[in-house]
């Protein structure tokens, strides 16, 4: 909102306050849950949350880039499914693991590339371009798999390790991957030209163009990165599920976008951090986990999660405007 943005806190202090606000929501949520359920604050459960959320979080990193550039990617869930299917079909056909993984991620990357082309060269609004890709990637995933899950008769150890392994016997591998990717993403945004241009495009695309930024090329990069990350997430998920599922990730696009917005991104672009994407993804994960731990009935769970998403953002908004007014 124009009004709100005018009150924005300048400089690093504001950024910090903003980050802290969503972090605060996360901590409150965690605190409440630890009181309500003795199982919440166990290492097992925390890692389980991390594991459950890692797939969403990896996609959220890519989605965050796109949202910062004032775009949106609705196709992430479908790309995730397609990549998982491609990877497992390769594995089922006896293709070596490395090649199968690469194939899966490549499928996602390709979809992202197409998104990028449609948005930049084709001038198609991101919402429509990726909505189209959402249908196409899902359709192809269904066609390739014939509609059924792709079962693997023999599972390479290292494939299982990707989704279910533990580093040093403790930390789940997907969590480690997420952390590494998040660090890379944050570095990209902060320390590279592409990152800087992403913010500039999201804040004022025409100004970026008139400053010599090759807007089209940047957009292609960003959407491709998001596609690649969705592809990687799909491969990891299929390792966790030990199969390729053509319907995996249905509706996750909204979860991922919600994670980004809860984490402080603005859909009108120019704002957002990778840390925010992670915190947002964690809030969503903790919410779901908490509802299950407390055995909230599935129907009430929908109500509760809906309400808490709104409240989390409201707290953020409120602190934000408080700090500034």
């Amino acid at each position: 909102m124009a009004e709100e943005s005018e009150k924005a806190v300048p400089g690093t202090l504001g950024e910090l306050a903003r980050k802290l606000a969503s972090l605060l929501s996360l901590l409150i949520l965690g605190g409440v849950l630890s009181i309500l359920s003795p199982y919440f604050l166990t290492l097992d459960n925390l890692f389980a949350i991390g594991l459950q959320m890692s797939v969403i979080a990896i996609i959220a990193i890519g989605q965050m880039l796109i949202i910062i550039s004032a775009g949106i990617d609705l196709s992430v869930g479908s790309i995730l499914a397609l990549s998982g299917i491609v990877c497992t079909i390769f594995l089922a056909d006896g293709v070596p693991l490395g090649l199968a993984l690469t194939g899966g991620v490549a499928a996602g990357t390709l979809c992202g590339l197409v998104n990028g082309f449609l948005v930049s060269k084709g001038r198609i609004p991101p919402f429509i371009a990726t909505l189209g890709m959402m249908g196409m990637a899902r359709g192809v995933a269904l066609i390739l798999s014939g509609g059924a899950g792709v079962q693997l008769s023999s599972l390479p150890e290292s494939f299982i390790f990707l989704g279910a392994g533990r580093l040093f016997r403790v930390v789940p591998v997907p969590v480690v991957i997420t952390a590494v990717l998040a660090a890379l993403g944050a570095g990209l945004l902060k320390y590279t030209r592409l990152g800087r241009y992403t913010y500039a495009i999201g804040s004022n695309q025409e100004a970026a163009r008139l400053s010599g930024v090759n807007v089209q090329r940047c957009l292609i990069y960003i959407y491709t990165i998001c596609g690649a990350l969705s592809g990687l997430a799909g491969v990891i998920l299929s390792s966790r599920l030990r199969s390729g599922q053509p319907t995996a990730g249905t509706g996750w696009e909204l979860d991922v976008i919600a994670a980004c917005v809860i984490g402080g991104a603005s859909l009108s672009g120019g704002e957002g951090t990778i840390a925010g994407a992670l915190i947002g993804a964690l809030i969503m994960g903790v919410l779901r986990n908490g509802c299950n731990l407390l055995d909230v009935s599935a129907f009430w769970q929908q109500v509760a999660i809906g309400a808490i998403i709104v409240i989390a953002v409201f707290i953020d908004q409120y602190r934000h405007s408080k700090g500034a007014a």
Binding site: L142, G149, Q151, G249
Partner: protein, 295 residues
């Protein structure tokens, strides 16, 4: 023009082995009887309006008969009435309609089957302790029947308590997540009933990820290759298997009969079979599990 009969077979969903087996059965009957099968269902099992649109469109396309698994017992009545008015015979399979128009209902009894599942699970956990239900879509008829049946079954076992009910939205990843969370919240859990294929696969992944196979008894519906795999590896202890192939096959057969004005049976029960590691190798079970032969 091609004088071959055309029959629309409309399932509730397009994915999962269950519906693919129905399709296999329908196709097989189609080949046998020389009719063309059009396979068309909504993208999601909850998309009632989508199924209505499909049936409407195919009435407009003048199909010779419609075989359908209704997404809802009431909502599809008006289109079926229209089909009837246009002289197109309708057969329901798997999920029926609250209407007299369908000439036949070819299905197994979900409530009874789920009740049986409760008995088996109770027996497996030694008639004592907490069990959980991983159901699929809240509000979907089949999902409700299975929950009802399971509840009825559990009530017959006084020392078994149903500690948690969660839904997986017919999505394997969600099923895995909710099962993990149930396992965390219910450390005393003895057994799980997974009410469909996606729930079963997700639950078995969650159990084996925590190395609880054998300790948690898992009883599940359907018999996809992944579930058979689970049965073989000891994660799943019993499967309740309907006969989707027969539903598709008999549904189309009845439809052809109806087109030719021959009488058809109003209710055809395709039955439910319990598969355990012990009887898996029996030939009739193998036929049920691999209707098209082993892949």
């Amino acid at each position: 023009q091609d004088k071959r009969l055309r029959i629309l077979v409309s399932p509730k969903g397009l994915t999962h082995d269950f519906w693919l087996s129905v399709k296999a059965g329908a196709d097989s009957a189609g080949r046998e009887m020389g009719v063309e099968i059009v396979w068309k269902g909504p993208a999601a099992e909850t998309d009632i309006a989508g199924q209505i649109a499909i049936i409407e469109d195919y009435i407009n396309k003048r199909m010779d008969a419609i075989v359908m698994a209704a997404c809802d017992t009431k909502a599809l009545i008006p289109v079926v009435e229209r089909a009837h008015a246009e002289g197109i015979p309708v057969i329901t399979i798997d999920s029926g309609l609250d209407s007299d128009i369908p000439l036949s209902f070819v299905a197994s009894d979900n409530v009874r089957a789920a009740e049986k599942a409760a008995d088996i699970l109770a027996q497996l956990v030694g008639e004592r302790g907490a069990v959980a239900l991983v159901n699929f879509i809240p509000g979907a008829a089949t999902s409700i029947w299975r929950e009802t049946g399971f509840n009825q079954g559990i009530e017959k076992h006084p020392d078994i308590i149903l500690a948690a009910v969660q839904y997986c939205q017919a999505d394997v990843a969600t099923a895995m997540t909710v099962t993990e969370n149930i396992l965390t919240a219910q450390p005393e859990l003895k057994g799980i009933f997974a009410a469909n294929e996606a729930a079963a696969i997700g639950a078995s992944q969650a159990i084996s990820a925590r190395n609880l196979q054998g300790k948690i008894k898992l009883v599940a519906f359907d018999a996809s290759p992944a579930e058979i795999e689970g049965l073989n590896s000891g994660v799943i202890h019993a499967l309740l298997v309907q006969n989707p192939f027969a539903m598709g096959y008999l549904g189309v057969k009845s439809a052809v009969k109806a087109i030719h004005g021959e009488p058809v049976e109003k209710r055809i029960d395709t039955g439910v079979t319990v598969i355990t590691p012990d009887n898996l190798d029996q030939p009739e079970i193998q036929k049920l599990v691999y209707p098209l032969g082993r892949k």
